[in-house]
């Protein structure tokens, strides 16, 4: 597998470098024909400029990347741009441009759209965001992705653009929507308990290997329902890490013998706010 990451830093962007030019350069290089994975990092001050140029350029040059199977749009850390400030765009033109694509990862939910979400071979769709809009959830719910095996959504919080509710998620977990789905991640959510309660006995669990409800605000309330569910017991992996469960609940999970990750317990109170003296170095 060959993988390339393209990224434009702050200074480079100020000096006039553009991501479109970098993509064009890559497309005319000898390695483009065998490239299987392409990561687009910061396209240049992504809090101000959208990924539109990335999409246009990739679509224009898609024929130069016949082997491309994995695409990541927006792999950048907080050192480059806050996730909640990354400006995306309509990424769906990428799908017909890369008919052999198997995996698409998107980071950043602002202005994100997947207006025509149709692809015969896509197996993996991951959207990492601080807050995913319900319009995108609806686009996923009405998508045509018959081969999708893994769906992982970081739903986030309303401060950063999550404007949906449980009702917007229910169409995603209907049996038959994604017939081949084995990995479902509805994570990083402020309504993690509600999601847990909706999933605890959802028929879709029968087709899943992995359920990922990590990084959210899961508490004993949601955990209790999951633990009581027979359908949960058939999973090969249940990820509940980064949660607000009590010690007692953690112990019950550990004693359950289920393949569950209950690490990274969060404290909801402010006790961690210890203070330190100012002059110590």
């Amino acid at each position: 597998m060959t993988e390339v990451k393209l990224s434009i830093g702050y200074d480079e962007f100020e000096e006039g470098q553009r991501i479109g030019t970098e993509i064009e350069k890559l497309s005319s290089s000898p390695e483009s024909s065998s490239l299987t994975s392409l990561i687009i990092g910061d396209w240049g001050q992504a809090y101000e400029n959208s990924s539109e140029e990335v999409v246009e350029s990739l679509v224009t040059h898609s024929a130069s990347f016949p082997a491309l199977r994995k695409l990541f749009i927006g792999e950048m850390g907080y050192e480059e741009c806050e996730i909640s400030w990354i400006t995306q765009s309509d990424l769906s033109p990428l799908l017909p441009a890369f008919p052999e694509l198997q995996s698409l990862t998107i980071q950043g939910g602002n202005e994100l759209s997947l207006s025509e979400l149709k692809h015969d071979k896509l197996e993996e769709l991951i959207i990492i965001s601080g807050g995913l809009g319900k319009a995108v959830l609806e686009q996923i719910a009405t998508s045509q992705l018959p081969n999708l095996r893994k769906l992982e959504l970081y739903l986030g919080v309303d401060n950063y653009g999550f404007d949906g509710s449980l009702a917007d998620l229910l169409p995603l977990i209907e049996v038959g929507k994604f017939p081949k789905l084995t990995y479902l991640g509805l994570k990083n959510s402020q309504i993690q308990d509600e999601i847990a309660s909706a999933l605890a006995n959802a028929p879709i669990l029968d087709q899943l290997d992995t359920l990922d409800l990590s990084l959210g605000t899961l508490s004993d309330e949601g955990a209790e329902l999951l633990l009581a569910s027979d359908r949960i017991k058939k999973l090969k992996a249940l990820n509940l890490s980064h949660h607000y469960m009590s010690d007692e609940m953690i112990t019950r999970w550990k004693q359950s013998g289920l393949p569950v990750d209950v690490s990274d317990k969060q404290e909801s109170d402010d006790e961690e706010d210890w203070r330190y003296p100012s002059i110590t170095e």
Binding site: S7, Y10, Y47, E79, E82, P277, I279, T280
Partner: protein, 445 residues
């Protein structure tokens, strides 16, 4: 007689070993670390003079005489050389986290202090906001983490350094400072540090406003937007250990702002807010809180610079603490953080530079940059240099020069701890040259 304070230079002339006098806090981890290292190396112990007693008004000469009496004469011989024969090497330590000392320093910086020698204060003419008189300063109560009047603390600190320098000249003529008080003052003030580094041609993150720095929240925002520098670090000019550091960004389109900082605020209706160091990073997005913190920091003195996106590893970012001892880079540690602020006490991870994924050539660049940074302070022999490696181009920038940056645990260099290495290097070489001598190659002095 020529004053031999100042430039420390290794040379290969006759080894001249000196006794070491440390002004510090007896029994704290720094002074104990030094004594342990000396004892392990078979060296006579350093003479430890108490910071607190010096600040209470005892003279350096008095304290020295008292300590000398307690040390048996024969123990001053090391490798057959009588260390007491040479004038001493003076080493000032960090005032540490002692509130007693902090309070005494703030009192020394008072407008009615009996010592008004501001000669080492790089910005002495800038008034300190709402200064506390000696009597009030002496009554300050310890509230853990509270940032008691940082600018007055720094003024007092510079007065203390000036007094140390004066008294050392008379109490022990011919003595040398490992780090000269003038340099310590300059390193402790980030505005001055970055100016010195910049003039020496050392790469530093670009300041916000090259000629004139912003003076408050409003002017900072204006400069950031007009210069398209949307992400900056703002630092209390004389903070340490992430004290008063803010990673700040403005969204150029929406005007939204995010400030990540360890500064916490306690607001009151009837009196000014209290600012303190919180043990965890806080994230503020409301203008009222952000402008309150920033204006308070700017009143005391602040420095703002470009936020260089740091090199990272698995979604975390890091910077490098590189120790330099007498023009040689030695111990180094990468401080890896899930946040933009990398100081170790914020539960950040430590790694070797190779573990952090830096190539040998970048590591070499880190070392060279750090050595050059210390060379910009020619009267100093030891400092921990904070070096940023940019994520994209892997270029090195100096973010900070810590005169007491050698308290690094569990890091070895050629099998030595930091203090062992320092003691070995210091005892192996002669480091006297006249103050005006430019840096020259070994053996040419």
């Amino acid at each position: 007689m020529m004053r031999k304070t100042g430039v420390i230079l290794p040379s290969q002339s006759e080894p001249l070993m000196r006794p070491m006098i440390v002004i510090g806090i007896p029994g704290d981890k720094r002074t104990s670390g030094i004594q342990q290292a000396r004892s392990d190396l078979g060296m006579p112990p350093a003479i430890i003079l108490s910071y607190a007693e010096f600040l209470q008004g005892r003279s350096l000469g008095d304290l020295m005489e008292e300590q000398k009496k307690q040390i048996p004469r024969q123990s001053s011989v090391y490798n057959g050389v009588d260390l007491s024969a040479a004038p001493p090497l003076l080493r000032l330590e960090s005032p540490g986290s002692s509130f007693e000392i902090e309070r005494a320093i703030i009192a020394l910086g008072a407008p009615d202090s009996d010592d008004m020698d501001d000669s080492l204060h790089p910005f002495a003419d800038r008034p300190d906001p709402r200064p506390l008189r000696v009597k009030v300063a002496r009554q300050l109560k310890e509230i853990q983490g509270v940032l008691h009047h940082p600018s007055q603390w720094f003024r007092g600190y510079c007065r203390m350094l000036a007094r140390l320098q004066r008294e050392a000249n008379t109490a022990c003529p011919g003595s040398l400072w490992l780090n000269d008080p003038t340099d310590i003052a300059a390193m402790t003030d980030k505005r001055q540090t970055q100016q010195i580094l910049s003039e020496a041609g050392i790469p530093i993150p670009r300041p916000v406003g090259e000629d004139q720095q912003p003076t408050d929240y409003d002017s900072l925002r204006e400069m950031m937007l007009s210069r398209r520098m949307h992400r900056v670090f703002i630092k209390l000019a004389f903070g340490s250990a992430a004290s008063g550091v803010i990673a700040y960004q403005i969204h150029p389109v929406t005007g939204a702002e995010i400030a990540l900082t360890t500064v916490g605020v306690e607001d009151y209706i009837t009196r000014p807010p209290i600012y303190y160091n919180s043990g965890k990073l806080r994230r503020y997005t409301d203008t009222a809180t952000i402008s309150g913190i920033m204006n308070w920091i700017y009143q005391h003195g602040a420095y703002a610079e470009q936020w260089i996106p740091k090199a990272g590893l698995k979604g975390k970012a890091f910077d490098i603490r590189q120790l330099v001892v007498l023009r040689e880079a030695c111990h180094a540690v990468a401080r890896v953080s899930p946040t933009p602020i990398t100081n170790l006490h914020l539960r950040n991870q430590r790694m070797s530079l190779s573990e952090a994924g830096l190539s040998e050539s970048v590591q070499e660049q880190v070392r060279n940059t750090a050595v050059q940074a210390l060379a910009a302070f020619p009267r100093s022999g030891v400092a921990g240099i904070d070096v940023l490696v940019s994520g994209g181009s892997q270029q090195c920038f100096v973010a900070d020069v810590n005169p007491f940056g050698d308290l690094l645990y569990d890091v070895k260099y050629r099998g030595c701890s930091t203090y062992e290495w320092e003691m070995k290097v210091l005892s192996a070489r002669d480091y006297i040259t006249p103050p005006s001598t430019p840096l020259i190659k070994e053996g040419l002095s």
